[in-house]
């Protein structure tokens, strides 16, 4: 199959996701309202309770709003990844997933294209959030708006592929509430999104390790460093490794011959 065929297919999948995004304005607003509620209400309430010491990449004491901004950016991507991936299997998108899977183009390519299309949408949401967040004086260096982009692509891909893997593997997650309870909330709270890891270590060692090995922590920290135009090898490597693992699992999950689709599809 010629490369141009792949390119057309990729363009088509991304364009569809973008069109859906622009047609569903309420989806865009709800994606923005969620982190803004955290920023405007939660952070305002907690800023006096939680003091944050000087930790990299910050060079000075920072308000709590500034600390949680990368976590909220990662939350946008987490919700987006879970929503777009899980909706593929459930409700009305089930049909459109079928039409995609019967395309002659290799399935791994279709799935990665679909993931990247979701990442593209999440990046639009993140930049919209960053513009609004500037009213809370969350203003990174101007280069940060550019250096965050590669990190967003990887973290979006990682969280999207995690969602895709879950959508192929778990039969019982019938609705989004289940995903909220069992995936999104534990991942979000057991991470460095709302509090630095050293604070957790002071309270509970085992919880610290849970947070430390949580892929979402790697997403948050990669975003945090890249937003301040810094590169952290450890977190970046973690993201890449997690992305590769989740991607392989989700591609296997959607392989009719091997994955969980086969288990669902019988033998």
């Amino acid at each position: 199959m010629k490369p141009i065929i792949y390119l057309r297919c990729f363009k088509g999948i991304v364009l569809r996701e973008a069109l859906r995004f622009f047609h569903q304005k309420e989806r865009f607003f709800s994606a923005l309202v969620r982190p803004l509620v955290w920023l405007g209400i939660f952070a305002a309430g907690f800023r006096s309770v939680l003091g944050v010491a000087i930790i990299p990449p910050y060079e000075t004491y920072i308000p709590y709003e500034v600390y949680i901004a990368p976590g909220l950016i990662a939350m946008i991507q987490l919700f987006n990844g879970m929503q777009s991936s899980l909706s593929m299997v459930y409700d009305r998108e089930m049909g459109s997933m079928k039409t995609m899977l019967v395309s002659p183009i290799p399935r791994w390519f279709l799935l990665i294209s679909k993931l990247l299309a979701g990442v593209f949408v999440s990046i639009l949401q993140v930049y919209a959030f960053l513009i609004i967040a500037s009213f809370w004086e969350i203003i990174p260096p101007i280069t940060g708006y550019f250096t965050i982009l590669p990190a967003l692509i990887f973290t979006g891909l990682m969280l999207g592929s995690l969602g895709m893997f879950l959508s192929s593997a778990i039969k019982q997650l019938e609705n989004f509430a289940g995903v909220m309870n069992f995936v999104i909330f534990p991942m979000f709270f057991a991470s460095s999104a709302l509090y630095p890891l050293w604070k957790i270590e002071e309270t509970s060692e085992w919880l610290y390790y849970v947070c430390f090995y949580n892929p979402f922590t790697y997403a948050v920290e990669s975003i945090r460093f890249s937003l301040y135009s810094q590169f952290n090898f450890e977190y970046t490597a973690g993201i890449v490794i997690f992305t590769v693992i989740f991607l392989i699992l989700s591609i296997l999950g959607y392989d009719p011959a091997r994955g969980s689709l086969q288990k669902k599809g019988g033998s």
Partner: protein
């Protein structure tokens, strides 16, 4: 005449439940074949195997001599599918839906535009091209799905209960349209249904019941063989229920 679809000895299980048992079907180019069976007979499972949504572990499925499992890309290139569930994106326009499908088959924008215009004219919905799918009636949505399934010029069209839930007028219009597509002799159609009145004399029928093919061939031949008055009675006799 070339063979569009050749299914040989395919069985399929869900746990202990045997959904298909040793199914064999052959369809030639230009054939309009009805896959007739009650709900739960195994029609959708068979379609899922032909389209490789499920993997066939036994027997073989070939589309124009391409094995679905071994040469899936070449096999899938030749298939157009209309699923039982509606699969159009309601928030996109008819045109956007059709362009999306064209891209999944690697068509260039210019080619896709030309084919979309051609297919949409054929189903008489040109004036709805820019409308959101949500604003279309059930019958119109089905016609768009059929147009969509033909955009990449497949040689085999699979339709899974395409008229369920539609009014009589829409049902007949869709049926007539699909039958006319076969007339040129290039396209083969496998039309799954549980509605016996969709079958005309002289057509080919494959009767499936509890995962097994209980009879197949020309309608008249089956009626004669079962010594019944019509295909409805023949079907009732073969599956042991009254519909």
């Amino acid at each position: 005449m070339s063979t569009a679809l050749q299914i040989k000895n395919v069985s399929h299980k869900f746990g202990e439940f045997k959904a298909l048992n040793n199914v064999s079907i052959k369809i030639d180019s230009g054939d309009f074949t009805v896959l007739l069976g009650l709900n739960g007979a195994g029609k959708t499972t068979l379609y899922s195997l032909i389209t490789r949504l499920y993997n066939n572990n036994s027997g073989s499925i070939k589309i124009h001599n391409f094995d679905v499992r071994e040469e899936s890309s070449d096999a899938l290139k030749n298939i157009g599918v209309v699923f039982q569930q509606p699969t159009l994106d309601l928030d996109l326009s008819v045109e956007e839906n059709l362009h999306y499908h064209s891209s999944l088959h690697g068509l260039s924008f210019a080619d896709a535009k030309e084919r979309i215009e051609e297919e949409i004219r054929r189903i008489d919905l040109t004036e709805k091209l820019k409308n959101k799918v949500r604003s279309l009636s059930g019958g119109q949505r089905r016609r768009v799905e059929i147009a969509r399934s033909l955009l990449h010029k497949p040689k085999l069209l699979l339709l899974d209960e395409p008229t369920v839930g539609l009014d009589i007028g829409s049902r007949q219009m869709i049926l007539k349209h699909v039958k006319s597509l076969c007339k040129k002799g290039e396209l083969a159609v496998l039309w799954a249904t549980h509605l016996i009145d969709e079958i005309d004399k002289g057509e080919k029928v494959v009767i499936i019941h509890k995962g097994e093919i209980v009879e197949s061939g020309d309608v008249l031949k089956i009626v004669k063989k079962t010594k019944q008055k019509n295909i409805r009675d023949a079907f009732n006799k073969l599956v042991g229920v009254k519909v």
